[in-house]
Symmetry: C2
Subunit: 133 residues, 2 copies
DNA sequence: TTGCTTTTGCAATACGATTGCAAAAAGAAT
DNA sequence: ATTCTTTTTGCAATCGTATTGCAAAAGCAA
């Protein structure tokens, strides 16, 4: 499916900034923060535009959003073969974010009367490439 | 053990701000962020003082530090009966942070060649008290 | 009490996240 | 193609938490 359809299917208008963002993520397999994207795309669009599009693309399931250990949001293209809760890995060196598909998170065993809203299992370290530098 | 000894054992000088901070945490079983502590303690000390003391108390294992889902650092008194990696629960309503001692995290199964640096399993929801309001 | 080291208080700054608003662009209706 | 309505963009401002430089104050050992 092309970028235009991706947007249309989510009820989003097809705009230049959005196409550029989708194209950018599609050409990369790592994650980016808003400041990083700003740097990469700033000749083409404003920070607020990127920001708001990251939000809506995430809300529509097109981008995956994970906070790194500094509390900074990182975005990566959602892979469609992932279901259920899973852990995330972020490479502290290159910033690559991976979904650890083999680490499914089972529903946590909370004390009696507690209500679960969300959970996030973040693993950080060095990916295979960066560990060998 | 009293607050003075706690500090001395970590090689930290015994100062009024530190005693006040330890006393404050000791009287509460929930977690606080820097802004929250600022509010509670600002008549007595400066924000930078609180900030730097939270860092050193955390570095010395006296306080536990966990980022909530907004990326804000929360601090809570370290309970000495906790060993190993465990999940953390934060109540979205009252802010209470709990160590889920029954949820020990086993070493994640990373792909070949990856290096693990740190991990954090955060669970958010409502605690038993807040769920019944 | 002296002298050295650590800590504090104040002020400034860094930095990512977020918003208001008018102009521009997209898309539906005609 | 033109008009009209709604969404989106760009710019600038602002928010909130985190962080730092530096001189003065406090802690502590000799």
């Amino acid at each position: 499916m092309n970028f235009e359809n991706t947007l249309k299917n989510s009820g989003l208008r097809v705009t230049q900034p959005r196409i550029a963002i989708l194209k950018f993520f599609n050409a990369s397999n790592r994650s980016y923060s808003l400041p990083e994207l700003e740097e990469k795309l700033k000749v083409n669009m404003d920070r607020a535009t990127i920001y708001r599009n990251l939000l809506s693309l995430h809300k529509n399931g097109i981008l995956h959003q994970v906070k790194d250990s500094n509390g900074v949001n990182k975005y990566i293209q959602t892979k469609r073969d992932i279901a259920g809760n899973h852990a995330h890995f972020i490479c502290l060196n290159c910033g690559k974010l991976e979904c650890l598909n083999n680490m499914l998170i089972n529903t946590p065993n909370l004390p009696e009367g507690y209500v679960l809203k969300r959970q996030e299992y973040l693993v950080e370290g060095q990916c295979g490439h960066c560990a060998n530098l």
